[in-house]
Amino acid sequence: MPAVSKGDGMRGLAVFISDIRNCKSKEAEIKRINKELANIRSKFKGDKALDGYSKKKYVCKLLFIFLLGHDIDFGHMEAVNLLSSNRYTEKQIGYLFISVLVNSNSELIRLINNAIKNDLASRNPTFMGLALHCIANVGSREMAEAFAGEIPKILVAGDTMDSVKQSAALCLLRLYRTSPDLVPMGDWTSRVVHLLNDQHLGVVTAATSLITTLAQKNPEEFKTSVSLAVSRLSRIVTSASTDLQDYTYYFVPAPWLSVKLLRLLQCYPPPDPAVRGRLTECLETILNKAQEPPKSKKVQHSNAKNAVLFEAISLIIHHDSEPNLLVRACNQLGQFLQHRETNLRYLALESMCTLASSEFSHEAVKTHIETVINALKTERDVSVRQRAVDLLYAMCDRSNAQQIVAEMLSYLETADYSIREEIVLKVAILAEKYAVDYTWYVDTILNLIRIAGDYVSEEVWYRVIQIVINRDDVQGYAAKTVFEALQAPACHENLVKVGGYILGEFGNLIAGDPRSSPLIQFNLLHSKFHLCSVPTRALLLSTYIKFVNLFPEVKTTIQDVLRSDSQLKNADVELQQRAVEYLRLSTVASTDILATVLEEMPPFPERESSILAKLKKKKGPSTVTDLEEAKRERSADVNGGPEPAPASAASTPSPSADLLGLGAAPPAPAGPPPSSGGLLVDVFSDSPSAVAPLAPGSEDNFARFVCKNNGVLFENQLLQIGLKSEFRQNLGRMFIFYGNKTSTQFLNFTPTLICSDDLQTNLSLQTKPVDPTVDGGAQVQQVVNIECVSDFTEAPVLNIQFRYGGTFQNVSVKLPITLNKFFQPTEMASQDFFQRWKQLSSPQQEVQNIFKAKHPMDTEVTKAKIIGFGSALLEDVDPNPANFVGAGIIHTRTTQIGCLLRLEPNLQAQVRLLEERASYARAVFWLWCGMGPKWGRLRSSERCVPLCNLRCPADT
């Protein structure tokens, strides 16, 4: 226990904090802070060396000032000094300062890493813990590079203290999340899985989080964790509430650990029968416990118990294979629906939503419909009501659709504005999906427009028109209904749109009734005309011309309207043009022509409802409710929507052309730009990389560049990185193009080239920083001058950091600079080739690899590939014409290495033998590495020689 000197309360700090709190105004606070900063600065600069306590105190004050929201530009050095103190409290403040004020100052990072390294090696569990927490809090790439190798060792070492293991597990998790490429799986993985058996439940708690995350990415490697997790879980749920001592929380044994274990099991399908039996027992025990009387009246007890219960239900739903458990889960949730705790009602609704989609429990969920409807009416919390709507939507089928839709419609009248649009979409979808009788459907949609017209998006009314046009049986009813609805003194503009369109098409079906004669129809529509927006007016004009065709008796009335100044001289080009053209059409065209031009709309092709697509998008994972974007996409959707205007108007794209469905075509998805090396791409492999969306650090794209120099290296929604490079002898130049694909500026745009120490000595890269702001749609270029000093294996990493709309973006990609780029082809006669080939016969100078070709071997493509790789293709050299032979020289600053290459395809067996010999032992191996990702993928059959075997003789 560290000695406590002067009390570690830091009186000076307490006084300073009190002073700040006493400041009456912001100005006074700033004044006090500046005074303190000056004081601290002079103390740090002073001649007198500060003792640890003072240093700690001042650093802590600086930290406080920073946390108040003021910038701190000094004191980092002193904080780093504190790291090497032997006192816990001083070290702790040092680490805290570093964690909160992360600074990528390279000088300091080295010192910090050094201090961490010392503490990790100190074998003092408290210090090791502090160091690990610091790594976990900062989690930068530099730290990952420095410690990703060390931490797994600490984690699985037999003599590590439990608390250190806990920290190490989560520290590793953090590094894996930020830089997965730096945390390679290895021997430690199997030992980590066994931490699930650890005696210390804290270690198991931490390790389970790590294993869950790793298992999500590498399910095969962590498969054994399933049975271990099940047995651990079974031990916990069957233990008495006192067995686990301090891990029992309000009489619930290890609730958090249970939740984590259940979560881990959700990464996998149901296990083998043996394990499955035990798991089912566990789950039943958890369900049984929920029925037992509570051991404590405290809310903590029930919360902890139910946390486990809900996670168990999630697992049951995830497995979706035990009807018995599913129904029990559903009944349990049903009880919660009427619980007095709002939290439980909310969670039960949420959980039941997923349960409703399982075929086993769908019927069971449906029995709770009354309760859910009641929740919709009585819940005070809007988020609970929202869950109730979701559940109603999920449990809806043909049998209860009418009831549910009616309830939702009546709720819509009082619903919160924030969720109205979603409810509208849901009602529209349900009405369409489960409509037996389409008159009901039409009524529902018109009601929807009446109740919540503002929230009815374009898709909804397009859809109703599509359906009416496609179904003869409903057209007359639709016309009658809209006509009646339009008679309301104030009706929503969306209703005018639907009404206008439907009457224009099917008004004739009700014209026989004197109450809805053509003139009355027209007057009714025209009475709304002046209250409507431009797109609706344009639509109405089209309806009028259709009326001219349908009802010759109103022709003159309509012509008068079209001829009026407010139409012909309308300020809006679209309206004016329609008026002029329609007027002309109605005067010059004969009835036959008119009838042909204005023929009834043909049925729409059947397709997935665009409303559904919209709801999916709305509910999708990236629900950043960007209205602007939604609108833009909406206009693109319309292409397939109804086309209210006759063909004559089709030649006039205009700002209001949305309505015509002629809105600017959706931007074509940017395909991969044609690259000169296209031929070389994926000769052998499955060509998944061509358009594949690239995860950062994706090897695929990197591999494509082994044999080519230009193309797109990386692309996501925001950023595109293109490359153009040229190499001559040992020099090269690479142009990197960063394209901003958005319309928003990127701020603090900083690309950095990262080379490992090893690589730095062998490859020299020079570049200038780019402008930190990249405008929307703009492209910036960066030139990298490259010199190959000596042979190398790794590739540099290009890290790009920028801010986009307030969020910090971080992208890392491997830059395709490989040794073969410095490969110059050499022509050689047959005799020379074999003479040299024989000279280079020592085992160190030779590499052989047999691999199975995944694709049919095409001679031309293979040839192109070898040339792309950099060597010369020597024809007529090998006595066997089927073989490919290449030769070249690798240029580095220090040396030149000649390389020879032979590829011997065996067409019958689809196997190839690739041999290489080089004049310099290491080069052979490096060359292989250069080819690594591309050619390495070819080594798919077990017959091939693993690369590591080749390493032994060649690696010096």
Binding site: N303, D381, V384
Partner: protein, 198 residues
Amino acid sequence: MIRFILIQNRAGKTRLAKWYMQFDDDEKQKLIEEVHAVVTVRDAKHTNFVEFRNFKIIYRRYAGLYFCICVDVNDNNLAYLEAIHNFVEVLNEYFHNVCELDLVFNFYKVYTVVDEMFLAGEIRETSQTKMRRLRRRGRPSPPKAIQLPSVEFSLPGRLCTQPWPCRFSGRVQIVSPLGQVRAMRLAKVKSLRRGTLP
């Protein structure tokens, strides 16, 4: 995983902010304000969960303080709700009856407690017994009431560890800072008279 942990008072002053995700400073400030706006409007009849951007916030109110944890949408609500309570109980024991001022004056210790209980956005330790060893390492400051400046008297009482509104107030001792300060002053005066003040 946990995206961030915030402790705020009703006025929106941040008492602790712990980030497990990269945000820049402006973004952090925005998040803090948004969380405050979202959480303070809710009453006791509401759930302890709020959807928030692409995440959700699990929060609990203790006297004048809101403890908020922002997690992924598919995370277990109740587990994090109780993680908050467990955290508060640990703080309560660590500071012997914690109050808001403890978090202000000992902010650096709160960070240590957080790191012991949550690391890398995951729950690290849940045992309160294990957390007790922390007390041995960094001792909380001695008599904090002496440091209380006069303005603090208007602050609400000690944090009770029951969720607000406090249903079991009978069992939880509520000590008003005012009373304590008076007692300390009295003790000071007495010891002055005796001439034994250190």
